[in-house]
């Protein structure tokens, strides 16, 4: 974290309350990929199976 965040991470839209712009696309993609990878790993470990963690 060498650099500090810029004072305003989003476009300054002026005074008054501004709604949160929502989750960025990269966060959604990252979440989907990570979730899918965990699901695949879980399924693999249980189907390949008897060998994993066993003798």
């Amino acid at each position: 974290m060498a650099d500090s965040p810029s004072r305003f991470d989003a476009t300054d839209l002026g005074p008054g309350p501004v709604a949160h712009p929502g989750m960025p696309r990269w966060v959604k993609v990252f979440g989907i990929v990570a979730g899918s990878a965990l699901l695949v790993a879980f399924v693999l470990m249980h189907t390949i199976g008897g060998g994993m963690g066993g003798h």
């Binding site: 974290m1 060498a2 650099d3 500090s4 965040p5 305003f8 991470d9 989003a10 005074p15 309350p17 501004v18 949160h20 712009p21 989750m23 960025p24 990269w26 966060v27 990252f30 790993a41 470990m45 390949i48 199976g49 008897g50 060998g51 994993m52 963690g53 066993g54 003798h55």
Partner: protein
Amino acid sequence: MAMNPRLRRLALTAHITFSVGWLGAVAVFVVLATVGLAGDNADTVRSAYLAMELTAWFILVPLSFASLLTGLVQALGTAWGLFRHYWVVFKLLINVVATVLLLVHMQVVGHVAGAAARATLASGDLVGMRVQLLADAAAALLVLIVAVTLSVYKPKGLTRYGWRGQHESRARERLAATEGAARQPA
């Protein structure tokens, strides 16, 4: 709770050292797991698993905790915060989950290393566990590379909590500026 610049640089250096050191140790772990699984020479295979156990307990586990601790110090002691930016949240999740899984993984490491210490491992012995060691290490390496990438690129995106905090601080600054201007003589 902002740190002064010198302390911030020291904390950053520590965090980078521990985190990248952890990644490097996992890379070594992948190599040892590969040798253990695919090696021809019984002595080499035994040595690999004994080295894995030592590497895990004396390098991987301490570095994972050190990375987590210094990461928390960095987040809480700077303007980045712990829950304001998505990239910081993801790095925290990666670190915590990887550390927990590493501790769980130590049972398998200990079991295989113990078996290797007692007797020569034939190619068919404990295959499931030996494959798991390699697969888990490879997955950990990938995940830590993702964490390093997030650290360098710092993709933009404020969480709701961060967004709220930023707008509140802007409102306070605007109010202070307005009051300051009102006090100025005409």
